[in-house]
């Protein structure tokens, strides 16, 4: 902390003011705009937009996608972190790069790859059609696209955390006679719980809010394959701004809750900032 620097406190306050002004303009203002626009025609119009059947269907679909994709991400993330952090094997850094890959792929490309695989013109398209299986323009496609874009979230929180914790605790537990599963449940899981929660929070926010990848595979069928972000887009393109911002405000609330929980994990448990590298 440099409070008594020669550069003087004038420069300090100018820097703080400049940073806050920038963040207020570019981050805070859009967030405020969502709620103000959503309530611009009164609370009744706001409520009506949210309980409208297509909006409710979109909310249900989004919750369904999250309920499937987040647990899968947790299982995969823990398995990948266990294999990578507790064992030595050649090609480890390449494997980590592959796990991170979805972060550097455009969401639109993420959707496209499933169209190329499962779409009517895709490799498996004719076979799927013959067996009456719908993936593209249906819920399974939306699920796959969501799983792709959220792929690294839990794994990349746990890999550094578990690597740093090493394997002493687990080896002690095992040599005292605990089974592998008991060791995982009683020793490893308590050690990684805040990192896991942190990854799940970010994974959940992304799964609920994913737009580009889901947009490519959804087909935008109202009431059927519309997630909340896609429903926002449709309403907006129909110039139904109040309804678009009303549904958007639910997603913005989700973002606020995510940020608050994330901050609590960081402050209370000193996770990520400070203690993660001790």
């Amino acid at each position: 902390m440099i409070d008594d620097r020669k550069s003087g406190s004038g420069g300090r306050y100018a820097l703080i003011a400049l940073a806050i002004a920038f963040l207020a303009l570019f981050l805070m203002l859009p967030l405020v705009a969502v709620f103000v626009e959503a309530l611009s025609k009164g609370i009744a119009a706001y409520g009506a937009a949210i309980v409208e059947p297509d909006a409710l269907a979109a909310i249900r679909l989004t919750l369904l996608v999250v309920a499937i994709s987040v647990p899968l991400n947790i299982v995969f993330g823990i398995a990948a972190a266990w294999a990578i952090a507790k064992f030595d094997f050649p090609g480890k850094s390449l494997l980590i790069s592959f796990i991170d890959l979805p972060f550097s792929v455009s969401p639109v490309v993420a959707g496209l790859i499933y169209v190329l695989l499962f779409g009517a013109q895709g490799w498996l398209g004719p076979w799927l059609r013959a067996h009456d299986i719908e993936i593209i323009f249906a819920v399974p496609g939306i699920l796959l696209a969501t799983i792709f874009v959220t792929f690294p979230f839990v794994a990349r929180e746990l890999i550094p955390l578990m690597s740093e914790q090493g394997r002493d605790d687990e080896e002690a537990s095992l040599s005292l006679g605990a089974s592998g599963f008991q060791t995982f449940w009683r020793v490893t899981l308590p050690n990684i719980r805040w990192g896991l929660l942190y990854g799940v929070l970010l994974c959940n926010a992304r799964a609920m809010g994913e737009f580009g990848a889901v947009s490519v595979v959804s087909g935008h069928l109202r009431g059927l394959t519309n997630t909340m972000p896609l429903h926002v887009e449709i309403l907006y393109n129909e110039y139904n701004f109040v309804a678009a911002f009303a549904v958007a405000s639910l997603l913005a609330l989700l973002a606020l809750v995510t940020l608050i929980l994330k901050s609590i994990v960081e402050w209370r448990f000193d996770y990520h900032r400070g203690s993660a590298g001790h």
């Binding site: 902390m1 080896e171 402050w267």
Partner: protein, 293 residues
Amino acid sequence: MEIALSSPLQMTTVPAQAGKPKSKSIIPGFGLTMGLTIAWLSLVVLIPLSTVFIRSAGMGWSDFVAVGFSERAMAAYKVSFGTALAAALVNAVFGLLTAWVLVRYRFPGRRIVNALVDLPFALPTAVAGIALTAIYAGNGWIGQYLEPLGIQVAYNPIGITVALIFIGLPFIVRSVEPVLEDLSAEVEEAALSLGARPWQVFARVILPAILPALLTGFALAFARGVGEYGSVIFIAGNMPFKSEIAPLLIITQLEQYNYAAATAIATVMLVASFIMLLLINLIQAWSRRRVNG
């Protein structure tokens, strides 16, 4: 390895001997967790991604160039890469400023500011897109004051840049922050007490130390910006040759059943993002060497 999926990529990932950890460990579950990881990774990420390259390879070079580097595609790359670069540059300056203020100063509301920095990670991109449009459109909150001045933000590349500034900011702040925290204030105080001016301290002491982190954050923000779709399309105007981004062109081609063009453009973008990924890794390796050496 009990998984017998025949992905060519899988062979390079885990050589045959990988089943046996080098140091004999009593910890169980390597086969199970590694098998699950490789299987899930191959099914969800590697095999689907490889379809883009295999389809492109089947097109023949001249066909690929004709659709992947068509005039319209080139214009779209220019918009995507140009706006992403501009946004990353703005973010490099203000992201560094934000990180500096958060690490070095204590002020009321600091924790709220710190939480707010992560908003772009938590707010769905489509929500950000319509909110930014409401602010910067000709009749919008800020747009109505800019329009009389002849400044049109929404529906042209400036609007795209504004959206990408929103999306990219946390990458820079969160990359630079830990390095600034580790930077001891004593070195700066020594420089100051030896008569250096504050800007000299910044240019000679602080900037060299944080440069790798700043470059990493810059590359991450840039890479994210190039592929960004949701926050951009509402504010972009989406005029071909003017404000059409490459991801949107992929969707447009797909909607017209022009799979070859969509695939070729996706391949160009994937190759670009792999190159950026490589650069980020090189920067990090370089900074590790600097720290250790």
